[in-house]
């Protein structure tokens, strides 16, 4: 049910070290579906690089709350009509190409299967992915998601990603040095986190899992605050209301319901802020995530579900979680879903901004699937070489989110060597600060065990606290 952060330690017992077959060739068990699949899998078109118009998966006629919603609704309807036209226009050529490449019955089957949406295809199948920046760093436009960032804005995102990666690397090293018990690295997911984190307003509220170090950075949480729970001095410890950034949640998917309830409260208050819930591809299998989708949809809660599909839930690939692309899950609940290139910080920023704005203006939930990759291990206890093919990592390294933005900065001349040097210097300072903080982080007092178990007190806790204090006190004379 819950996450197994230490699962890596258990894998030694079995033969699970077998390398999995490549996931880009989904199994098609039945003849018709295999034919359909053949029709759709066109060689040479690396699906993850494709820039396809997003297919919003739901009708959006959900009930609205508040008057603010009505105002924006009028605007949005107009916008939607144009978007719909564009989408239709973009889709038609696609189909034509497909028709040319296949023939007769096969093509017909393919179209039917595609229309049905899922059968035979794995979750990686034909990801319709919003992209604004190619892996080569070239800017491309998207009909639904425009983004106008000046050089300053671009450099800011670069700085965020570099510092977040540095912090993460520092924490990984500290774990290796025995200063942390465990560390879940975000390596590779910087764009998904910084792009979405920078899309939020200060009064929006974030419900993270346990890997959202980059989002925490965007919220202004001191990164050293994140280390306490991994060092074992507390279970979180920060005040969620200081930065509207909730505590890390270890049990997979639980926080999506907390986020939904919180968003229901935001709606009740008539506030125009939004809530964002982070979770992963593995969490999408959890009942709580399904229930969060249901509750948020029926109450039209102002929430964005931000799924970082990093392809692996410890050793389980996305195919083991779902038979449809994750963003399409939203359709069944009655709200839109969109897949965005999770290694493209600009696209993530644009898409999340739109989703959050949509929630804020009373149009209800939206699912954003950031298609990305966990370049490191699940946690420092995990060993991805047991289940992950080497060439897969190499493939994704070519799409590195930081490298990509740097290429863009260089292509456009938005940054010079002095800027890079300054960021490098800043990340050295951060690294030093993290190392010094962690090594001087005091262990909590023994009596902290009994603190904050209850807000209003509890007789049993009081009794046990007194007994343990007396026990500890009984050692004191010997120490003298």
């Amino acid at each position: 049910m819950g996450t197994v952060l230490l699962a890596g330690r258990r894998t030694g017992q079995s033969s699970t070290a077998r390398i999995r077959p490549r996931r880009t060739r989904p199994r098609a068990p039945y003849g018709a579906e295999r034919a359909a699949l053949a029709a759709r899998t066109t060689p040479g078109a690396g699906p993850t690089e494709e820039q396809v118009t997003v297919e919003s998966t739901a009708e959006r006629g959900t009930p609205r709350r508040g008057t603010a919603a009505k105002k924006t609704a009028a605007k949005k309807t107009a916008a939607k009509k144009t978007a719909a036209k564009k989408t239709a226009a973009n889709r038609t050529p696609d189909k034509k190409i497909a028709d040319k490449k296949t023939a007769g019955k096969k093509a017909a089957t393919a179209r039917r299967t595609t229309a049905r949406g899922t059968a035979g295809g794995g979750p990686q199948d034909r990801p319709a992915m919003v992209q604004l920046l190619t892996p080569e760093g070239e800017r491309v436009e998207h009909p639904d998601y425009a983004l106008d960032l000046d050089a300053d804005g671009l450099r800011g995102l670069y700085r965020d990603m570099v510092l977040t990666r540095r912090f993460d690397a520092e924490a990984t090293s500290l774990q290796r040095q025995g200063e942390l018990g465990l560390w879940p690295s975000l390596l590779g997911q910087e764009a998904a986190q910084i792009g979405s984190g920078r899309a939020l307003h200060p009064d929006d509220y974030v419900f993270p899992t346990y890997r959202e170090h980059g989002v925490a950075w965007c919220r202004g949480v001191d990164p050293t605050n994140l280390l306490g729970m991994f060092r074992g001095v507390n279970h979180g410890g920060w005040d969620p209301n200081d930065n509207n950034f909730h505590l890390y949640t270890i049990v997979i998917g639980s926080q999506t319901l907390h986020a939904t309830g919180y968003a229901m409260g935001v709606a009740k208050d008539g506030a125009d802020s939004a809530v964002i819930a982070y979770f992963g591809d593995g969490a999408s299998s959890q009942g709580d995530v399904a229930e969060a989708f249901t509750f948020s949809a029926v109450y039209n809660a102002p929430i964005v579900f931000f799924c970082q599909n990093n392809q692996w839930a410890i050793s389980e690939p996305t195919e083991r979680q779902t038979r449809v692309p994750l963003y399409q899950r939203a359709a069944g609940y009655g709200f839109p879903g969109v897949r965005v290139d999770g290694n493209d910080v600009l696209a993530v920023l644009a898409v999340t901004r739109a989703a959050v704005e949509r929630a804020r203006s009373g149009e209800g939930p939206m699912l954003v699937e950031a298609f990305t990759y966990r370049m490191g291990a699940h946690t420092t206890s995990d060993d991805p070489t047991r289940y992950r093919p080497d060439d897969e990592l190499a493939q994704w390294e070519a799409k590195d989110p930081i490298l990509r933005l740097r290429r863009h900065l260089d292509l456009t001349g938005a940054a010079d060597d002095a800027f890079y040097a300054a960021v490098e210097e800043e990340s050295d300072v951060l690294g030093r600060r993290v190392r010094e903080t962690i090594r001087t982080m005091p262990d909590p007092d023994s009596m902290a065990i009994f603190e904050n178990v209850y807000a209003d007190g509890h007789a049993l806790v009081d009794e046990e606290r007194a007994q343990y204090a007396a026990y500890l006190a009984s050692f004191e004379p010997e120490e003298n």
Binding site: M1, G2, N234, H235, G236, G237, W238, D239, P240, N241, H246, L247, T249, V251, S254, T256, L257, H258, A259, T260, G261, Y262, A263, M264, G265, V266, K268, D269, G287, D288, E291, A292, T294, F295, V298, E451, N452, V453, Y454, A455, D456, H458, A459, L460, V461
Partner: protein, 329 residues
């Protein structure tokens, strides 16, 4: 006006009044659960509340227990005070994860920065001839978890006041309602001054033996004491009221006087609340005990089909038998 604050009400109506008054006195209080709106709940505990307070305050939820508790947590984080209803005892388990891993621990995890004033109302225990999963007593499963408070009223006045206090409490409270006693009537004084939520109460004084009960078994315990009286035995009955924490001081004072203790609850005896009382009182009252502490309750079996309830439940005869055994030492 003074008269209107005192009335003879069944427990069900006392609970309804408590919810109504809580909704009236604090705009942050919400009632939520399956069928709590138009229907008024399957036991009609929330009858008429949605009509008077609207769908934003009295919320019919999707049929998803984890969702009910998970969103209640989120609402509490936003400053609301949700009172969530789980329709029947056996249906709480889909929400058990949210209750145990999230609701119970979030206050500690935040080092006290967030409070979770969530009440979970659960109609529990048997004796109404229901099908399976509608008659269970899972209180011990929750009592083992730090961060939760667990209470169970046995009479109408307690039903009213303990629910009001549970809603005002800043900690999560699991509020077990003895469904077989919903129709028991008693005086309710809504302008009275309630005792502390966690305090046990001596509901019948006696000198020969202490009988500890809570929730649905308090009525049984009082019947036992009445029969024992006819046989010349003086049984003191204590209503625990709170199962986490347990007011051991009140039990200890009684046992120091009587020298004998029998516990009774509907939940299985094994690892039950009675076991905890027996262990603590054995430790505290070793030199006062004239007999080993005895426990009466359910068996280590699934709750049986309705035609066997009489065998399973600790009724008058089985409790009297244990009283006799204790007194025979």
């Amino acid at each position: 006006m003074a008269d209107s604050s005192t009335a003879k009400l069944p427990i069900a109506k006392a609970l309804n009044t408590a919810l109504r008054n809580a909704l009236e006195s604090d705009p942050k209080v919400l009632v939520m659960g399956e069928d709590v709106g138009k229907l008024g709940g399957v036991f009609r505990i929330t009858d008429g509340l949605q009509k008077d307070f609207g769908e934003e305050r009295v919320i019919d939820t999707p049929l998803a227990e984890s969702g009910i508790i998970g969103t209640a947590i989120g609402l509490a984080l936003r400053g609301y005070r949700p009172v969530a209803e789980i329709q029947f005892d056996g249906f709480v388990f889909p929400a058990y994860d949210q209750i145990v891993t999230q609701l119970a621990k979030m206050h500690a995890r935040s080092l006290g920065k967030v409070k979770l004033p969530v009440v979970i109302r659960i109609p529990y225990a048997g004796g109404i001839g229901a099908v399976e999963h509608h008659s269970e007593s899972p209180e011990a499963l929750f009592a083992h978890v730090a961060g939760l408070k667990i209470v169970s009223p046995s009479n109408a006045d307690d039903a009213y006041w303990m629910l009001r206090q549970a809603i005002e409490c800043d900690d999560p409270v699991i509020f077990f309602e003895p469904k077989s006693r919903y129709w028991d009537k008693g005086e309710v004084n809504t302008s009275g001054i309630p005792g502390p939520l966690h305090a046990a109460r001596v509901v019948r004084p006696g000198s020969d033996l202490t009988l500890v009960a809570y929730g649905p078994t308090v009525r049984t315990a009082l019947q036992v004491a009445a029969v024992a009286q006819e046989e010349g035995r003086s049984v003191e009955v204590i209503d625990l009221r709170s199962i986490s924490p347990i007011d051991f001081d009140t039990v200890q004072r009684s046992v120091e006087k009587t020298g004998r203790l029998v516990t009774v609850h509907e939940a299985p005896v094994f690892f039950g609340a009675g076991a905890e009382v027996a262990a603590r009182i054995s430790e505290r009252c070793f030199y006062h005990l004239e007999a080993p502490v005895l426990r009466v309750g359910g068996f280590h079996s699934p709750y049986p089909p309705a035609r066997l309830e009489e065998d399973y439940l600790p009724g008058l005869d089985r409790v009297l038998d244990s009283v006799d055994r204790s007194l025979a030492y």
